[in-house]
Structures are given as C-alpha cells and as structure tokens.
C-alpha cells in the first residue's frame, strides 16, 4: 500500500534514481580514497551521461563491484548498501576505518515530486558526500597511502556491520532525501582511534592487532566481495586493457520545465560516436547511442549498437586505476605495491571475470549489433524497476536513448509503449508507435500554478516523431509530440495543449514597452487641449450628472 499514490512512471523513475544514486555514491567514496586529488570539468551543455548534473567519473571496476553487491536490488529497509573502507599495511595487517551506509527507512514523503525534487535533492546529497568524504580522518590517511599501507574498499549489501570499527566510533550524517517510498539516508561511521594518529605515528606502532586476523574469515559474509584497493597504479609502460564497458553511463539528460505539470518533457541527447581506445572511461565524454530499441514491452531481445566510450582525458588528473585481477577465491592476494617498490603487472583480463565480462569489451562502431551471447553473470538484468520487463541474458552495458511518453488520461489513440528493459535513463519516454496506454497521471495537476517546480513537465513538439533508429545523428534532441487529454477542437486549429503552450508566455503588452508607451503618451498629450475644450463645453451636463450622484 506504500506506493498506491505513486504513478508507475514515477516509481520507475524513482527506482532508477535510487539505483544510480547508489552507484554514484560508491564512486564518490572510492574515488575519495584513491589518494589522489580528483578533478572533473564543468560543462555548460548537458552531455547526457552526467547523472544528477554532476561530473562524477565512473571507474568501471567500482561500478562492477557495486552492481555485484546490489545484485539487482535497491536499498530498502533492512537492506543497506555499505562501502567499507579499510587500511592494510604492507605486513598484511588490516583495520576498518569507515563504513559508509546508504540506507532506506520507512518514513515516506508522499507529496514530494519524484522527477524533480527528489532528483535535485539527490544531487545535493552527492555534493554533500563530496564534501564530507574529505573531512573524515581516513581522507588524510588515504592521501598518504602507497608505501606503508594501502586503502581498500569493500561493498556489501544487507545489514550494516559496525563492529569492526572499534570502540567509540563516531558517525557523521551526510544527509537524507525523502521519497514517496521511504527516506534515503547516507551516513558514515568512522573509527576515531586514528584521529590522533599521524602517519608517522602509524608507522612506528606495532601491528594493529596482536595476531594477524584473517580478515575475510571473520566476515559475516564470507562469500561477499573481497577487498579492493582504492588505488593501484599501473606501470607506465603497461598496456593493460581495462574492461571499459560502462553500463552506468546511460542517458540521463533531464529536461525540466517551469510550465504546469500536465505534460512531460524528455530530452535525450545523442552524442557522436567515437572509436574507443581501451582506457578508463570518462563519463563526461560518453556519447549516447543511437535510437535502437525494440517495440515490445517485455522483449528480452534487444539490439544495441555498442556504445562508444570516450577517452578518459589525461588532463583530468584522474589516476589510472586498478582494473581487475582480484581473485575472489583468494582475497589475500592483493596486488599492491611490493616491497621492492616495483609494481606487478596488471593482468590484461580480469581474473575473476566471467565469460560475459570478458565479452563486454568495446567494439568498434561498425553498426554491428551486439546481443548477449551468454547470460549475464554479475551484471544485473535491469529488473530493478520493472518485473514486467524481465529480461534475461541481455547485458545492459550500452547506452540507448529511449523514448517513453506519458499520455493523458483520455487520449484517443492507443500509443504503444516502448520500454527498454534497460531503463537507465531517469525519465523514460514512449516511442510514438505501439505504446501501451499508461493509466497515468499527467492531467492530474491543473495548470493553475504555472510557476510550479515540477520538472520534466512541459511539452514536446514532434519532429516527425518516429523514434526509430534512423534518427539524425546530428540532431541533438528529438522531441516527441505529446497529446494532452482533450482531443482536438474543430473550431480552433489547435488542441488544448497547444493552446496552453502558446499562450502561457504571452509577449509583453505593447503599451507597456517604453517606446510605444512614450509614443502614445506624446499622442495623448497632443490631443489633450482638444479634449479639454470639448469637456469645457459640456461642463453643465457634467455638473448635472454629478448632482444626481450625490
């Protein structure tokens, strides 16, 4: 009964936001413990892949680990996503430093607007996370890692385990965002024994624990993900190839509107394809795929063009990261800086990847359609939001632009819904043909508050509206016609929606513009003497009239 008030479109959007929020949260935390300064560029034009309007890079391995831990689920009550940050010395001793928790509680905010307020608050929360990750003690430690110790991360999903933080740990709350299905909270519990330890002190102390504890045996989740170093530097001449497929870089361009929430706007950018060299991807440059999608709601057969992933630009100051090579079966085999100071080579393929993982390499864009040859292993099947869209076996590693259109309640024509199983854009849109009628909402709010903050609501004009994959690659936006609830009026050559759109921002009255105002004033002034003369002639009549009023 929780989400009876939440439209299914909103629910889908919300699930998507939460999912990508979780992934971005992990990225921010891990990147903040790399030991490097992070720098990303602002871009005044939306690129289509920057979730929450923030330039946060996606380290593929980190996303991979996060998705593995989440296994297609979302944070919910009692099921939290935790990122554990720990320190491991070169002798093999390790110690938990922080647990970052993304939790959901039951307190719902039914009134809040998903596609706008929740989205923006999640963006704000990510900014807070960026700020807070620099102020806990582990930050300074992580900046000095490399020789004596490394910083590791581990992601798990389920119950929060704080016992490894020692006594007297402190917590800091990053923030909360209320949603119609619960309140998302983000916080960090951190060990404080280190707060007064500089790294010099740390070097001098004996091993943290008397005995070398088998960190992983003690884990409540022995089969859970092993620790990974936050930072691993490749040798300069190492031509390691990273599995650079990045499926979190789906389209997320959002379009907001200040007009009333009777219609929806979705804008999708299509960037240009580039041939990808195998390097760490950079979300800022990830282009979005063309419009390739199937027609059917629950089709499990999707054809994609492989996404071209942009080059991670070196000038971003982004460190080369450890690509993989953790052997899940032997978590102790951490690849870290060896005592000699040399750096062991990175394996060119992830050691624990599955067949499917290895297949997910970038392929050149020759229009070849890629479809899953093997069932996806750890990659989720994107059933997060819709069980009805269950697809098995298709990896969702590639970007698509998808159109799903919200329709008014009384639309005449049935519109077929195209729902990509991979609904990884925040605001999905219908393709104009063959769309299922959604029993949705859109005429819910009457246009009595045009300045409302509802985003994504506005209207689109169609431009040949076919969402087919022949779309112009040089158009940045494809707009889809939206049909409001009331059908065309034969008298006026426009429907209610068009009427409203056209007249909601009327031009300023000409009499208010200064030039014309001045002109007419001059004219008025000129005609004054004449008018006065007329009035004077009729003064008796006026007086009599005034008498009658008294």
């Amino acid at each position: 009964a929780m989400d009876t008030d939440l439209s299914s479109q909103d629910r889908k959007d919300l699930d998507k936001f939460i999912k990508f929020f979780a992934l971005k949260t992990v990225q921010v935390i891990v990147q903040a413990r790399l030991g490097e300064k992070i720098c990303t560029r602002s871009s005044s034009s939306p690129t289509g892949s920057d979730w929450f309007n923030l330039a946060i890079k996606d380290i593929p391995e980190v996303t991979h680990e996060a998705k593995k831990a989440l296994a297609g689920q979302l944070p919910a009550v009692g099921r939290s996503m935790c990122v554990e940050i720990s320190l491991k010395t070169s002798e093999g001793d390790s110690m938990e430093l922080e647990i970052w928790c993304l939790e959901m509680n039951e307190k719902c905010d039914k009134e809040i607007k998903v596609s706008y307020t929740v989205y923006n608050r999640l963006s704000l929360l990510l900014k807070s996370l960026l700020a807070i990750t620099r102020v806990t003690p582990a930050y300074r430690l992580s900046r000095k890692q490399g020789h004596e110790y490394v910083i590791l991360y581990r992601i798990y999903f389920g119950e929060v385990q704080l016992s490894g933080l020692g006594e007297g740990f402190q917590t800091v709350r990053v923030g909360t965002v209320g949603t119609p299905v619960g309140t998302i909270t983000l916080s960090c519990a951190y060990r404080i024994n280190l707060a007064f330890m500089s790294t010099r002190q740390f070097e001098r102390t004996p091993p943290i624990m008397g005995i070398i504890i088998d960190h992983f045996v003690d884990r409540p989740y022995p089969s859970s993900s092993p620790m990974h170093p936050c930072n691993y530097r490749a040798g300069e001449d190492n031509g390691a190839v990273y599995p650079s497929v990045e499926d979190s870089q789906e389209v997320c361009t959002t379009s907001f509107s200040t007009s009333p929430p009777s219609q929806c706007v979705f804008t999708v950018t299509k960037a240009h394809f580039q041939t990808p060299p195998p390097v760490v991807t950079d979300t800022l440059k990830v282009p979005v795929m063309g419009l390739a999608f199937s027609h059917q709601l629950s089709s499990s057969r999707l054809s994609y063009q492989p996404a071209a992933l942009g080059v991670g630009s070196a000038d971003m100051g982004y460190p080369v990261l450890f690509a993989g090579g953790f052997n899940a079966a032997h978590p102790h085999q951490l690849i870290g800086p060896s005592k000699e100071g040399g750096v062991p080579p990175i394996p060119s393929q992830p050691a624990h990847g599955t067949q499917a993982d290895q297949e997910r390499m970038c392929t050149p864009l020759d229009g070849v359609h890629y479809s899953a040859a093997t069932p996806s292993s750890s990659e989720d099947t994107e059933t997060v939001s819709n069980s009805s869209e269950g697809k098995s076996g298709s990896p969702h590693d590639f970007l698509e632009t998808i159109f799903i259109r919200k329709v008014g309640a009384f639309v005449n024509k049935p519109i077929n819904q195209v729902t990509m199983a991979n609904l990884d854009i925040p605001f999905a849109m219908f393709a104009p043909k063959n769309v299922e009628l959604e029993d949705n909402d859109t005429m819910v709010n009457p246009p009595d508050s045009p300045e409302t903050e509802s985003p994504l609501q506005g209207s689109l004009h169609s431009e040949g509206s076919s969402g087919s994959s022949t779309g112009n690659t040089h158009d940045d936006f494809v707009m889809i016609d939206f049909k409001p609830a009331f059908s065309k009026d034969d008298i006026l050559p426009m429907d209610l929606g068009t009427f409203y759109r056209e007249f909601q921002n009327p031009p300023q009255l000409s009499s208010l513009s200064i030039d014309i105002g001045a002109q007419s004033m001059a004219e008025d002034l000129d005609s004054l003497p004449e008018k006065l003369a007329v009035h004077e002639k009729n003064v008796k009549e006026f007086d009599a009239f005034v008498e009658t009023l008294q």
């Binding site: 602002s42 939306p46 900014k127 102020v135 806990t136 930050y139 909360t176 509107s257 200040t258 209207s459």
Partner: protein, 222 residues
C-alpha cells in the same frame, strides 16, 4: 537592518593565524557555493530547460592540514579569491586585534516599477566570524595547522547539516525570471545570486559600519 523575515542565517566562527585566513575563508565559501550552484540552464521551447553539468575538484590548503572540494569554475574561484583577499587585507590593516567577519548572502531580485529600484531579498545568509591569532614559534604553528584543519572539518559538517534541512530555496524560475534568482554571468556554472561583504571589528568590539551599511541599503533597495 535585519534580513527579510524568512532569511535563514548561519554563523560560523574560526580562529586562525593570519596566513590561514584566505584558505579558511575559501574553504567555507566554496563549500557553501558547491551546494548552492547548479549547472547552466538552457531554456528551450515552452518553458522547458535542461541543466548543464557541474564539475568538482579537490583543493589542498598550504597553511592548514585540510582539503576541500570546490566547483570547477575558474570564474567563481576568482570572484571568491578577490573578495577574500580584500577581507584579508582589511583585517591586516585594521590593527592588532584582527577580528572581523565575512558574509555570503544569497538573495532574489524582485523587480519594482519605476521609480523604485529592484529589491534584493535575501533568503540565506552565512556569516563567518574570524579571529586572527598571532603565534610565537614554529611548534605552535604546526599545532595550529592541525587544529584549524580539524575545526574546518567540523565547519564543513555543520554546513552540510544546514544544507540537508532542505529548507526554503527559490522556486525554479522561468526564462524571463532566471536572472532574478541565479547568477547567469558565469560560463560554466550557475550559482544562486549572491553577494559577499565583510566588516572589521575594531578593538573596542564595535563594528566598522561602512560595508554593513551598504549591505543594508542593498537589502532595502531604496
């Protein structure tokens, strides 16, 4: 001369050494502006708009054991550095006490009809009270580096707490109104309209009022 009724006000206090003033102020101001800046709006037909992307970067302090995140915008950074530089100079020239405060105010513009000038209505005011200390030796300075670093960590946490309250924010404006809410002059990011002012406290604890008067005057806009 109080701010408008629903303007929330936050006050932070720090004690720093002279050479730490700039970095400490920048850390706080940038952290606030990180939360109060969006990507550039691009208005399209029918009142819809899309939002650009905000990049961020780490800044290490030289005189404080501290690092913070700021928005990736050189223009914004320059504007803040200029204001903070003026504040630091004023503090230095004021005399030995070295007390002052710098304020970051977010406001909305309300257009008035001629002959009245536009009103500036503040909706959030951050005030950082600064006390400059003089240290005797290098050991004290080293401790101060660490202590001020820890204090700034606390301030960042305080700022984030305030931001998380999700209290009043101006409504998202239409295209014609956007300059009444946001500073659209920067090319890569779009902070809410803001102004920075400062005042130096003289040794008697009373404030030198010229800058304050200007702030008040702007607020009342008459």
């Amino acid at each position: 001369a109080a701010p408008a009724m629903n303007c929330r006000a936050e006050v932070l206090e720090v004690s720093v050494e002279g050479r730490q003033v700039e970095e400490a102020m920048l850390a706080v101001l940038h952290t606030v502006l990180l939360h109060r800046s969006t990507g550039k709006f691009h208005y399209k037909k029918e009142g819809t708009y899309s939002i650009g992307t905000v990049g961020t970067q780490d800044v290490d302090c030289d005189f404080i054991d501290f690092a913070y995140v700021r928005v990736s915008s050189e223009e914004l950074d320059r504007a803040l550095r200029k204001a903070v530089g003026e504040f630091k100079d004023a503090l230095r020239n004021s005399g030995s006490d070295g007390m002052g405060q710098i304020s970051l105010e977010f406001y909305q513009k309300k257009k008035s009809r001629w002959p009245f000038s536009d009103e500036c209505i503040p909706w959030e005011l951050w005030t950082i009270k600064v006390n400059v200390v003089n240290l005797a030796n290098e050991q004290e300075r080293q401790i101060c580096r660490e202590k001020v670093g820890e204090k700034l960590c606390e301030k960042i946490i305080n700022i984030v707490e305030v931001m998380n309250r999700h209290e009043y924010l101006p409504k998202m404006p239409t295209q014609s109104e956007v300059d009444n809410v946001f500073d659209t002059s920067l090319k890569d990011v779009q902070p809410y309209l803001y102004k920075i002012s400062y005042q130096i406290t003289d040794s008697l604890g009373t404030s030198v009022t010229t800058t304050m008067r200007r702030l008040i005057k702007d607020t009342l806009a008459l």
